[in-house]
């Protein structure tokens, strides 16, 4: 399984993502720059966290219109798995690859802490290595993580089982609708999430529960797990 990580000016979790993928898969990911118009042959494309283009205009707005995103869209249509974390999630919604939008946190402050994350749908490869309803402690670090979609869209997301992760009851850090922390697209090959699984892959991180997300995304069997 080959992974490509997209880098924008202002991406800053790209190196964490490279380290996580290398640790878990044993293979270094390919890297793509925002101006690239083609991508290496990939099974998994990752848009990492950070502050692409300084979060100017809206978080992820300018990144979403970068040349490389046409190649990401094309790969998505072919069924390639795409993961956007934090600013990557914002970018995927701005690009229209995921529904809804991520607005300023309801409390207005930047939130940087561990949250309780509940697996809302484990019938997708990304989440298959978790138990349905399992709660893990996972770091978040964002200012714009308040998920919003209009009533009709929200209903569709819920009815289709597109909610991948929710903040466990009472721990919503940002006012996100329905406690949504991560969603799939309708086809299930695109996942966007605010929490940072790449910062939960080594014992020194305080836990390794993030590994299973990447193992699932890379079709790694349990016995191959690091």
């Amino acid at each position: 399984m080959k992974t490509t990580i997209i880098q924008f000016p202002g991406s800053n979790r790209d190196r964490d993502m490279i380290a996580a993928i290398t640790l878990i898969s044993g293979q270094s990911p390919a890297l793509a720059w925002h101006t690239d118009t083609t991508l290496p042959d990939s099974d998994l494309i990752i848009i990492p966290g950070g502050f692409s283009h300084g979060d100017y205009l809206r978080s992820g707005a300018i990144a979403a219109r970068a040349p490389v995103m046409d190649a990401v869209r094309e790969a998505s249509e072919k069924g390639v798995r795409i993961l956007g974390v934090c600013n990557g999630f914002q970018t995927l919604t701005e690009a229209g690859l995921l529904p809804g939008a991520l607005m300023r946190n309801a409390g207005l402050t930047f939130v940087c802490k561990n949250v309780k994350l509940e697996v809302a749908n484990n019938t997708n490869p990304f989440t298959a290595r978790y138990a349905q309803g399992e709660v893990i402690s996972c770091p978040v670090a964002h200012h714009d993580g308040n998920y919003f979609a209009d009533g009709e869209t929200l209903q569709q997301i819920e009815d289709n089982g597109q909610v991948a992760f929710r903040y466990a009851e009472g721990t919503n850090p940002n006012g996100s609708q329905n406690d949504i922390a991560g969603i799939f697209n309708t086809a299930g090959n695109v996942l966007g999430m605010m929490p940072h699984p790449e910062n939960l892959v080594e014992p020194a991180h305080g836990g390794i529960d993030g590994c299973r997300l990447f193992e699932g995304a890379l079709n790694m069997l349990e016995t191959q797990a690091a």
Partner: protein, 83 residues
């Protein structure tokens, strides 16, 4: 081609919660400005552009809003072109 001065205003749609507007509303109240019922925060863009006609300028600005300046999932926009 003539040059036009335009103002684009982007606002959150009605019904979309605006935590920043709410915070400003609260701050105005605590500064003693009574009677402020609601504040909604938005953005304006002053755009200077060359276009064949005023209508063409407006059409171009609408396209800019749809493609970049506004996120129509959460925002409405209004375009004004000075004659």
């Amino acid at each position: 081609m003539p040059t036009y001065n335009a103002t684009v205003t982007v606002r959150l749609k009605n019904g979309v919660l605006d935590p920043q507007g709410k915070a400003i509303e609260g701050a105005l109240g605590s500064l003693g400005f009574d009677g402020v019922e609601q504040v909604r925060q938005g953005k304006t863009f002053d755009v200077v552009l060359d276009a064949a006609t005023q209508d063409a300028a407006k059409e171009s600005l609408n396209a800019m809003c749809e493609k970049l300046l506004a996120n129509t999932v959460i925002e409405d926009y209004a375009v004004e072109v000075a004659g």
